[in-house]
Symmetry: C2
DNA sequence: GTCTATAAGACGATAGAC
DNA sequence: GTCTATCGTCTTATAGAC
């Protein structure tokens, strides 16, 4: 009991850090990164700006901490795409990853000011999108198949975001099943079945 | 010849106004609305901030002028959705409208700071999305059909944006044809053809 | 129609006390 | 770990000359 107990100060420090990140995420999504001031964040928490700067050395570092997990998750998605995964499994992975990261995708994917603030970390998102659509298109794809890959990816990713927004943040099993089937149909032309 | 000639001063004023809007659109898309200062815009044009404020009374009004056309175009799309249009024609209309407004959709649809700056004009975009997906779902739709409507709308709209980005801003006829077919397949389930 | 100069305040970030 | 007070800069917007 003595060894497993954590020092209480450590605990509080981590909690405050988490609280800052939670509020920052909410405000960045609502007003944008550039549109949210450090004072906006601290006033919501009832603390001073100086207190926040004890936990984060800059506003940019808050954004960096928020985007660390999503960027890693998307990198995993790109690795999946490069692997031996079938198109159905890949599209399902796109849907599931999008669900997990919905709140942060509002920041990472939608806010130009966040992207220009993290120029070193973000450029990968474009590469990842290309890797996924390339994997969906398959080897030696004809132009039409590339177009269908973009359509299927958009149906999976943005369809998921739209349904999450419409259904109050939860994706039902029916949502997932129908969305996946629709994305697969978008990918597969009727006159060239192209079995995966 | 005397009556048709326009006063040259009027002409220059309109030209300067257009130049401001063009640069503002480019910078808002790249850095976000909140992330772009009035000085950023005027320095690109080689003019003073005061000169800009002769043409626009505030930074918000520049944004409002930029979004006026896109909002009207989307409103027209919502009217089309309410009319007797078939689902194929509606999806084609979504693709064509997205192409026309691609540069501004980067602002209207992607930037949280722009949306929070124009709270009175923007809330309609959510209603319009709902009107389009409702029209795609048809009368008395079952839950699965509503999901497919979201998938088809995402394929048409975001698929168009992805292809525009990948193909350097132009949508070929093949792009349009394949995208439309893919969106239609996403909408129509194999075991319930649901003729429109 | 455009300029210089400046007002008035918000911004990110720090110093130093407790 | 949090505070008050403040620094220096950037911001939107205006005044007044040309």
């Amino acid at each position: 009991m003595a060894k497993t107990a954590e020092p209480p100060e450590r605990r509080e420090k981590q909690d405050t850090r988490r609280a800052i990140l939670d509020i920052a995420q909410e405000l960045f999504a609502a007003q944008g990164y550039a549109g949210t001031s450090v004072a906006d964040i601290t006033s919501r928490l009832g603390m001073s700006k100086a207190a926040l700067y004890y936990h984060f050395s800059s506003k940019t570092e808050i954004l960096r901490a928020l985007l660390q997990e999503p960027i890693a998750a998307y990198a995993r998605l790109a690795e999946d795409a490069a692997g031996p995964l079938g198109t159905r499994e890949l599209l399902a992975s796109v849907i599931d990853t999008t669900v997990d990261l919905r709140a942060l995708i509002d920041v990472i994917g939608n806010d130009p000011s966040a992207q220009s603030a993290l120029q070193d970390l973000i450029p990968r998102s474009r590469e990842i999108n290309e890797a996924i659509t390339a994997a969906l298109a398959g080897p030696q794809p004809d132009p039409a198949r590339i177009i269908r890959a973009h359509a299927a990816y958009a149906a999976a990713k943005n369809g998921t975001l739209a349904l999450l927004a419409a259904h109050g943040g939860r994706l039902s099993r029916l949502d997932r099943t129908e969305l996946l089937a629709a994305a697969e149909r978008a990918l597969t032309s009727t006159d060239s079945p192209s079995a995966s």
